[in-house]
Symmetry: D3
Subunit: 340 residues, 6 copies
């Protein structure tokens, strides 16, 4: 049971049920999530001592967020209370040719307006084995860019390994800004995670011959990106999620890990989607876990892809699953036969 | 923003949730819809000044119907209040090999017993650019056959373009009756819409070598039907929806427009179905809109098929969607990737 | 309308809605079911005089069970009241690579602790045409092994035909115990039903070259099993369900009947699954019905597979469907087109 | 276990949940009920062999109605299948100063258009101990006035006791018509049931000094009505429900039985209302039951009022309760303390 | 049908169902409302040409707000689109000794950051008979204080009557600020509305001997406040809502109108509460309507109190009711008897 | 923040929504609770370091229980995993004259079959300030009688204060058995809690002139019981909950603390009930908290009664509330006015 720390924003998620449009709904399903909290939630369920670092308002909505985290095992000791509001995102869950749609209402959230000095990273990272953040955190503002930098430097200084999910969000910052900030962090990052778009938008490294709409993937091009990241930024482990998006209801999902000059592709899962939000975060958690328990490279990517394949079947942002369930898929149990 | 008028019945729709059978349900989802009101709803959302003409009872159920129309932008100035009841249809939403099932309880509805003289078409069509009805309206009774004829003649006399979705319903009238009535209307119709069964049952023009169950479509046969309609009835634009029904959960959907002696086939969409009721109506609205904004024939059919493909993913009869969403699909955005 | 008797346990089924995990749910859907009650429910709906024999507690939960049976037409005259509790099973409905998961809480149920003398089989089977049980009933305990034996012997003595769905459940007994008990029953069984795993675990007859995960089926191997059962146990009709499990969301489903030295394979259905629990029971009910109305072998297997294919689309354990619906599929109506 | 027969209409009831108005609801709760079916349902649960006589359409909606009856123990052997539709009533459940509101959509229902010859009363009433109907049945049309008369005459001829709940409905017929028809039936009626308005509107016997809005009741005036009914029509037992309606949420409820020249008032219940539809029907069932088991007059009225007080707490038309629960209240258990 | 204009903020309202606390809920009921939009909604339903003036974001959430307004008849021609977000308020619906609780998340909303020049009051008020706002609008910021002042001056200049519901909100501004701003508006106000707290906090006029917790009201003290307002600010009509809050579940509700030196008290309603949010707004709409149709003072206050008593029984902010329903209560129909 | 330990059973609670009967429901609301876990939940929310000691099965249902505890702040370090099943209780929520009804299905639960040696009380109680249990725990079996005795003796030996809620349950043990066991524990108990029935059934001390149905309470009699308990068993603090049960919907609630020869009665709350299960547990938690923070006797009883009055308004077993909310009621804020 190792201490793992993730840092970022947790939001209220509101989605109409049963594929309804916003204007059709008179109820919303309510849950709470965000990239780094989702990662912490899976790591906690896999047995790690997972801490999420953030700030939520000191009101009953903030309190509900805390209880949601705690329920799924995430330690909330370092979640600050204060600020004006909790970020919200509205989600319409698509189907077939209708994409899922996110409307952000996250501006002015408590975490986005935090003073970086509110976080005492020496205390937070004491005894930790791992620190994780995603590109969303620095995208929330310059104060958070400083906070991430403080965290990374502290991590490096006390020997905590780090990972970064690039997670580029066009609504939060420009590619220019993103590349400037993210590049600077790379020297502190041990494990880098993203999809083809993330690598291009956040680091300026373009995957060749990419045709997102066709859903086909060019394996060589990805390997090339991985090698370029290694060369330019010195990151040791570079992981990709490879989504072939046939429709909003059906995707083919696999992953790639480039490590030690080798490229390890995972098997592919053909997935009828229940809820794909947070799949990338489960991938991150999976590969962090696999690294912490010292799996081999091929196993790391298979474990991470199995975890994230499972997430596509689970409602809400949080990956509610167990180690055994991931391992069963890892070992090839894809038939979906009833377990009784 | 052009004035468009549609004429027909709007019903209460009651369906068990989550694929339940009628006898299993202790709640029904309630919405309101009907072929011509569905068309008006999409046209209103695309920016047209869309009026629906009908009659609903002067009680809280009729009032709920009015509010539903108004919510989605349909003008209800010409909806009469009175009569005994609102038509109802019960719907079981099927899956895989179990078809969706409609139980009609629409007899004796206010609109079905209207006196044709209650509608003053000169007022209703004043300043209008388009008039639309489907074969369901005259199928409701001889009074409505007169009302449709009055509307069409007025439209012709004041230069309003017209469209007709054949929409044959075996539970409402015989093929003999349908053909007798519908044929008579053709001279007033500028745009004719239907599937292979509609053309056969309503106009007596059979598609050759049709094998509904196989799901395969014979493109030449459809083109031939289009030409025959043109020759026999003089309709300028003949549109088809082409449904390859693999199962109740999965269809392949495309369309054909025969115009000026040319046949324009749309691309095909492979659709995991959420709710396919009203897809044909969204096709009608799409092609009417495309005609009103003067798209080219190929674009008209592509736009209409994109709109109706999207409808398959939206619960309820009403096509709750925006122009931008249709255009995105029109331009090829089929991957269903999350938009955020 | 023939009298048919089934014997076994009915449980409360509790499942989170909408693919939620147990810990995510704050409501459970409640229904009641169990192998033999599911069989009785379909036979009742097909017009048989179907009696279910069991024991439920004499409290409001037992009463709710009785009302559920009665609602769907099952006669409850021989359901005893008493004992400590109703068995429960918790069900998570999976999707894609996440299997559905059953957590049993059925120990100490009223039926599992019944005294075999509480059942007066001469009265129960009087005038009956058929008796059915599954391997789950004797797996519940030695008292029930005696009860089943009593029932079978009485059936034989009064000329009632019998069927047995092997239905092996590893959580209830070992393969050794199962084989010892089930083998003994075979001399009384006219129709035997199971999948490849059941034949192996309950009777020790292994299907060769079986690869459950691949989803491919080896037709010859199944025929061989059928013949071996015939030779070793003398059962006249041996039926198989053949499930190719691509994922928890999508299966290919067919069946095989070995009779008179011939093997009759059904057509295959490709099924997007709504709820597959009880599909095997609908198969049993289908083949019992087909036998009672004296269909030919090929029709028997087609009818049974059509019934069980439909069951995959219906929520809950009980197969809520009509004879007409099964016949429509039996005659090839697989397109799933809306019926109106 | 005596055979009891009730005759009338059963409707689908659709109500918005949680006090919503019709236009606010996107789901309706669905149940089935009607005066005489509600009576049958309670009698069945009290252990009687209760048959409901009616006609419902031969479609899945009619089938759902049958299953609902059967679930709660009502025998449906004499429910005819056919006709065009099932009657529906829409219900808004009020609160405080907002009354509950019923919108009827029952015209043209299968039962309302039945041919009286379709009912073979000699068969239906064979072996019966009791026949019950309410004033709603003859109010549905002249065909049903004949059917009721046939039933009553047959009952008299074969020695079956009868009861009539006056149940005046202004939307179905005029007071003139009602009085003409109902008066004619009185010679066959052994037990008459109603509230003050029913006696006035259906039989022309006015309660003096009645002030419905004040909620106060004038005991002497009721006794006088009872005696007048006895004198004019010769009915032996005359029962009243006495509702003091403080608001839609809170009522005071009691009853009166006039028999053998004596007036028996029940105790009063102060009731916070969950669902008061069908309370009068539970009163009818209670007093029929009490008569069949030969309670004394004072006990009859107490039992009936206890049953109907309980009904106010139970959602839906059907009085889902047990003999023990009524007896507990009958014996004074009004504290509502948790039973565990 | 007179044109009435109201001006203010409309928010998304999110509340847990069934009295749940925020942290217990995994669904929220979604509706839209705000003081001035609620007033417009009732006026529209009473037959007025009601316009709501505001600003909502140009995204699907803003669009849902527009559709909600339109559904209930409110004209949205003057609702601007733009800005960053829609204000939200979270609501826990209390019971007994637990008060309902509002958590505001309305800061930075589109309307709160509007430029007052975006509203062209000459156009908006053209042909209008009435303008209404509440104290919440200027409490949102200085820009809105200017906008309200512009609206009032334009109204005065073109002869539009005006009303103001004081609606003091301590979370939005201080009493000092409120009094400074609101006092300035009084010269333009024809009808002033509030409860005892509003008059004290917004205008500095204290009701004597007030004991909010006891629920008793001192009639003389209220009359004195009314006269003082008249003297100090020259407002012609001063209306009070008088809430005796026994608990969150049960209130006694009445009103007072001071006009022409006379005090008119309404009758009192004892109310079991379903949803009391917006009751004050229904009072405002009621008294505006009564003024527009020129009722006498006593009738004005009775009509307004009847409308607002009804609102307590209707879920959501919007007062979904009809003129007839209010009139029925106005004429004394308080018994809550079922209407059928 | 003091360490508090409670010991007992936590069950799954399943209740039909909206006052439905068991046989009417097709969903159950799911939550988890039990006397001692409810106490721990409130203490945790009041800021104590609250540990719940129990045993739940090592399956996803046990896991859901753990997450529910953790969500509301209860420490689960001492919850053992194993055994066969989680206890369940089915609950129908009554109204008016219909009592809420509990059907227990708790036999054979993991905790009820625990070996007392599985609990290491020296570890569990290390550093603790308080230990609490209720009479339900020893009622589950002799193993638990031993476990409670072990806990009490350890508590005494290490100076941990203890409280006992008598909580007599007739379905679990006889009064003879209860009195024999509970009497023996009294020497270790510092604070004793119960209602009049508990004192009689568990300790044999009868309250005089008690008339449970009338709802009136005889204050002197309670004081006498308190003194007798003090004399016979030497318990220092004796607390009573005093429920005047007018109906299942409406209760009057108060409390009494007898301490140092003085009797302290609390104020009375008139409560419209949402969910009264667990109200006694909130009383226990309240008085434990008040004792730990060293309130005066009168304040202790007022605080405990305020906490438990609030619980009546909160769905589920767990008292989801904050210290501030209790204090507000403690200081007299009973008006239930909206807080915004």
């Amino acid at each position: 049971m190792k201490k793992v720390v993730t840092f970022g924003e947790i939001m209220m998620r509101l989605n109409p049920p049963n594929h309804k449009r916003f204007s059709q709904a008179d109820t919303f399903e309510v849950t709470y999530g965000g990239a780094e909290s989702n990662v912490a939630a899976l790591l906690a369920q896999l047995g790690m001592d997972a801490y999420f670092v953030s700030k939520v308002p000191d009101n009953p909505i903030g309190e509900a967020t805390i209880r949601h985290l705690r329920k799924h095992g995430v330690k909330t000791d370092y979640v600050l209370r204060g600020g004006e509001r909790l970020g919200i995102y509205f989600l319409e869950i698509g189907a077939a040719q209708r994409p899922s749609k996110v409307v952000y209402d996250r501006k002015y959230s408590a975490i986005s307006k935090v003073d970086p000095e509110e976080f005492d990273w020496n205390t937070i990272l004491e005894g930790a084995s791992w620190f994780h953040f995603s590109g969303i955190t620095p995208a929330l503002g310059e104060n958070l860019q400083v906070a991430v930098e403080n965290a990374l430097k502290t991590a490096k200084s006390v020997g905590v390994k780090t990972s970064c999910d690039l997670n580029y969000r066009a609504k939060l910052w420009s590619t220019e800004k993103a590349q400037k900030v993210m590049s600077k962090y790379m020297e502190y990052v041990d494990l880098l995670i993203g999809n083809e778009e993330d690598y291009e938008k956040s680091l300026g490294i373009k995957t060749e011959n990419l045709d997102t709409n066709s859903g086909k993937i060019n394996r060589k091009a990805y390997v090339k990106v991985g090698k370029e990241v290694k060369e330019r930024f010195g990151v040791r482990s570079i992981a990709f999620t490879l989504r072939e998006s046939i429709s909003a209801s059906f995707n083919i999902w696999s992953g790639l890990l480039v490590e030690n000059g080798e490229a390890y592709f995972s098997r592919k899962y053909e997935i009828q989607i229940v809820d794909r939000v947070g799949a990338g975060d489960s991938f991150s958690a999976g590969i962090i876990y696999a690294t912490l328990v010292e799996m081999k490279p091929k196993d790391k990517i298979e474990f991470a892809i199995a975890a994230s394949a499972l997430k596509h079947t689970i409602p809400g942002d949080f990956p509610v699953m167990s180690l055994n369930e991931i391992l069963k898929l890892f070992y090839g149990g894809i038939s979906g036969r009833v377990e009784r």
